[in-house]
Symmetry: D2
Subunit: 163 residues, 4 copies
């Protein structure tokens, strides 16, 4: 089983620019994360974009959807900024593809020692292998269906929709 | 859903003793790993032993089995040294409990910056939630049924049984 | 010999805010850095301010100077943002105190795994003990007199004044 | 000013062997440590041996002494295991070379996230630049003359000789 990984940016991949003193995007950290996890699962990686998810457009989401559709793999992980992760999950979910698609990200950039990114990546790759077709958000040890998840912005956590 | 975590030691939890200059066991690192992963999944943790898995006895394995049986939870992760992880998986697997039990560990101690432990823990907690009852070994992004896995000691990886 | 450490903020102490996704200042990291370095040197620590050095005012610099003057210790380390470190060094240097004062900082926040902060802190505390009275900038293994140092902003390094 | 760095092994450079589960020596970590510290100080590095200092022989110490003598540089840092660091310091000190030689090491391997190595390296390179000719031990923020230092093995710290 090969899992497809699509990179879109987000906190996960933010880097610290030593010259400007700001956070920005350079290359994805996914390769060194997989190396650190000594990942033995066959994966195919493609960077679709490298953006803060607050700046992700409808066209960007369509691009992600098209790539999920046309991918040869039936199991897909999408790394994504947390702020609009549930919006993209909805676009993918409503398309009703016969694939297992898991969105994940990080609350703290991987480049920080204190990142949850490696934990989340291990989790997302596992849910992608084990769950039936559908679209899911996997963050911080939990997994939510695309139509039953919101980000609680005050607490910085994902949780099921209320009532 | 609450996942039970049983700690048994292994590379996962080896510490460096500054006075003796040797690796040994102090407390488990599981709590700080779950904190680093910002784990939002309810878990119950119990340390059953803290041993190098090469020194694990039949009695130790029976103790793990009894704890899996008597646990209130139906989804269980067991942290374990890699050297005899498949032996313990066999003992648990042959018992045929109606629970999902996932054994995991690390090739490098968590206390090392270069550990695969956090990745494996995220993975094991996810497989434990998503897989049907059975006993599994989850290492480095892959998951194996207890009766179809061996550790390749030269390469330091887990792989399916041949032929 | 006790070394006084004055904290003023800077990249050294920037933290990542998980809720806003921005870098800001919370508490100083100096205590955990000294603990990580297993520092056995007696130190007295005082936080004077916690600011980006681009926002440091003349009044702020006078406050730092007054604290250097009134400190009981004759050996002082000042942690400081790199952008205006040489400006503060000049204010302190022109005052001509009979003390050894070493300014240091970091190109990358300590909270990032890839920070030079711990290296620079070890260096600054050592120069502060070994050098004669004067004001110095210690960054990335080198030490400069306050009147012979500039920050090369394109390269992100400190170097001697030209010609 | 160029500083010569001689590598001899010690805790500083211990690695974790994933296959055997033991600590051993592979390559030195000095290059990545200097890179992490963004060291701008010109250095020349040579590995003389890669041993646990408990196994260092008189012949090994003579080799270190000969290399200090014949080095073109007048400022030298020697990385060394902590157990017999003061013994080697004595051999170098009694030779009375007109050079500044600073021995340093680590209580915890650099490969561990919790190592004091980077702090000590920054410190040793600074003392080596700032101190007059002599032989010194620089550990954990302090610097001792070769004839006034012992390792307290119970506490795992270096301190001045008593009485």
């Amino acid at each position: 089983m090969t899992v497809r990984i699509f990179i879109t940016g987000g906190t996960f991949d933010k880097s610290y620019d030593e010259i400007t003193g700001k956070l920005d995007f350079e290359d994805t950290h996914i390769h060194e994360m997989l190396q650190l996890g000594r990942c033995r699962l066959p994966v195919e990686i493609r960077t679709l974009m490298m953006v803060d998810s607050l700046e992700m457009t409808d066209a960007d989401r369509q691009l992600i959807l098209q790539n999920c559709k046309s991918a040869a793999e039936e199991r897909i992980v999408v790394t994504h900024g947390t702020d609009t992760m549930t919006d993209t999950a909805r676009v993918l979910g409503e398309a009703g593809l016969a694939k297992t698609i898991v969105l994940t990200g990080a609350m703290v950039p991987y480049a920080f020692g204190s990142s949850d990114g490696l934990f989340n990546l291990g989790s997302a790759l596992s849910f992608a292998q084990a769950l039936p077709p559908g679209v899911y958000v996997a963050m911080n040890g939990r997994c939510f269906a695309w139509d039953d998840v919101v980000k609680n912005r005050e607490l910085g956590i994902f949780e099921p929709r209320r009532g």
